[in-house]
Amino acid sequence: MNATMNRRWDRFTPEQRFLRFAFYFLSVAAMVFSLKNIEIIPEFLYDAPEQLADFFQRMWPMDTAYYQKSVQAALIETLNIATLGTLLSLAMSIPVGIVAARNVVPIKSLNMLAQLILVSSRSVNTLVWALLFIAIFGPGAMAGTMAIAFRSIGFVGKLLGEALEEAHRGPIDALTATGASKASVFIKGYWPQVMPSFVSIALFRWDINVRESAVLGLVGAGGIGMAMDTAMNLFRWDQVAVVLSTIFVVVIIAEIVVSAIRRRII
């Protein structure tokens, strides 16, 4: 009787508590280790406020004439890179995403292969993809488009694969029972179920790609980053300010457009 009265109720088992503690401990240890070992040159930090003040002073007033001269064309190029890159990546990631979904393609080695493609696409940054494609196609918008497309395969393919794996079995079983071919099962069973999330993934990625394609020019892969790079190399900070504000406005508009379309579709 007494024993039951004094029974202790713990939320976590000792093992869970230990693991949580280990996680907190390791996080703090990582932070302390990083702070101790990171290379900081204090002389550079002392004049940071003056440098920043100087920076913003040079940015103002903006050289608005620069917009007409080179920013506008570069901006259209950036939007084209982002859109074409996204479309290309959709074309490439649909097959990879389908193969990655274990319920659609029940062949383990193929699933693994698709996962490998997705992981390597995601782990290499857009700028690094751009550097790779510049080595192949030479500098310019083509390298940028390919970079955007290859970086997006991993993102779109992974999310599409996950959406396919979460599809309900009911319609698929029903179609299979009528003797439908594999292609029909996919087009009429799986696709209608994942279509809304696919559209939303594609829009989301386009939004990200607009932002990413703005920096591609820094490594020579075309777009508005080129205009910024040129202005920076000439220390024309008033022109850099024009480019930065343009990027800001475009990114905000892209976000508003995407969320408006998404609200209408879903």
């Binding site: 869970q16 996680f23 280790f33 290379e39 040159i41 319920n103 029940p106 310019g140 488009t145 990413e212």
Partner: protein, 297 residues
């Protein structure tokens, strides 16, 4: 409009799948756009074919990757600096985004606080980490500090926004209950709000750590520390076998980080211990395979 509707009504009986004309027109417009944009960007088949032979040469020079002793030392040093940048930036970024996210939550804060906070988040979000890194390199000079600053700004843009959205989605019942008991603002936060958003917040934080790690391997391109600097200079020296070695190490690091953060999420959200986690994954995999096999038969 009414014409089309009646046409539909007539066709419904006979046509199984009614053609969607707006959709088709949309696809045609898209195709026209693609052709136009490819012309604008000078994307041509000839360039693509040219590129293939260049790509072959390029790949040939990348392999075998150069993992000689001095290169390995450079890679370790760079990766370690990248990890340090990511850790510090994530911690500071999360520390700053908690209050900012809270200020941007419309259900807890008055509008005159919400809009400035949202504007700050929008500014932080709309610039790519590399662009912010350029500004920080100008302010604090080359090196890891600039990288930390850039990633902190990026983290604020991402986590604050999601955190604010998570707070806006909480159930008001607990908040009202705590408030009804006479609790002050901070007590309401700690007992009414935080418990509802903690697990989602942990998800954002671990995702942000992954994303910071990815970016920290690249901001070196503009001189903000980490392995990106070595990568960029290796590209410029056409030292492609070293490029390949760096890329392989970066991929290995990022995949490891992703596995670890998946486990941390499982530990905190589902209370899974390590062995349970491994076992559960196996069980989940088995049951998935079984259902797939049933589907195939």
């Amino acid at each position: 409009m009414s014409d089309r509707d009646s046409a539909h009504a007539l066709n419904v009986a006979r046509v199984a799948f009614i053609p969607k004309w707006p959709l088709r027109i949309g696809f045609i417009l898209l195709a026209v756009y693609v052709v136009w944009a490819m012309g604008q960007l000078d994307v041509t088949w000839a360039r693509f074919v040219d590129g293939l032979s260049a790509g072959q040469k390029f790949l040939g020079r990348m392999f075998p990757p150069n993992f000689s002793a001095e290169k390995v030392e450079m890679i370790t040093k760079g990766l370690l600096e990248s990890i340090q940048i990511a850790v510090i930036a994530t911690v500071i970024g999360i520390g700053l985004s908690l209050p900012i996210g809270l200020l941007a939550a419309r259900n807890l804060m008055p509008p005159w606080v919400v809009w400035p906070a949202r504007a700050l988040i929008a500014v932080c979000r709309s610039f790519h980490e590399v662009v912010i890194a350029i500004i920080f390199v100008k302010a604090v000079g080359f090196g890891a500090v600039a990288g930390i600053g850039a990633l902190v700004v990026g983290s604020i843009g991402f986590i604050s926004k999601l955190f604010a959205e998570a707070i806006e989605e909480i159930s008001p019942k607990q908040v009202e209950a705590v408030r009804a008991s006479g609790a002050g603002f901070f007590a309401v936060l700690i007992y009414g709000v935080i418990p509802q958003v903690f697990s989602r917040f942990l998800g954002f934080a671990s995702y942000q750590f992954d994303s910071n790690l990815r970016h920290s391997t690249m901001i070196g391109i503009v001189g903000a520390g980490g392995i990106g600097g070595s990568l960029f200079s290796a590209f410029q020296r056409f030292d492609y076998d070293f490029v390949c070695a760096i890329l392989l190490s970066v991929i290995a690091l990022i995949v490891t980080a992703e596995v670890v953060s998946n486990y941390v999420r499982a530990l905190f959200n589902d209370n899974l211990a390590l062995l349970d986690y491994l076992r559960n994954r196996r069980v989940a995999k088995l049951s998935r395979e079984k259902s797939a096999a049933l589907g195939a038969s």
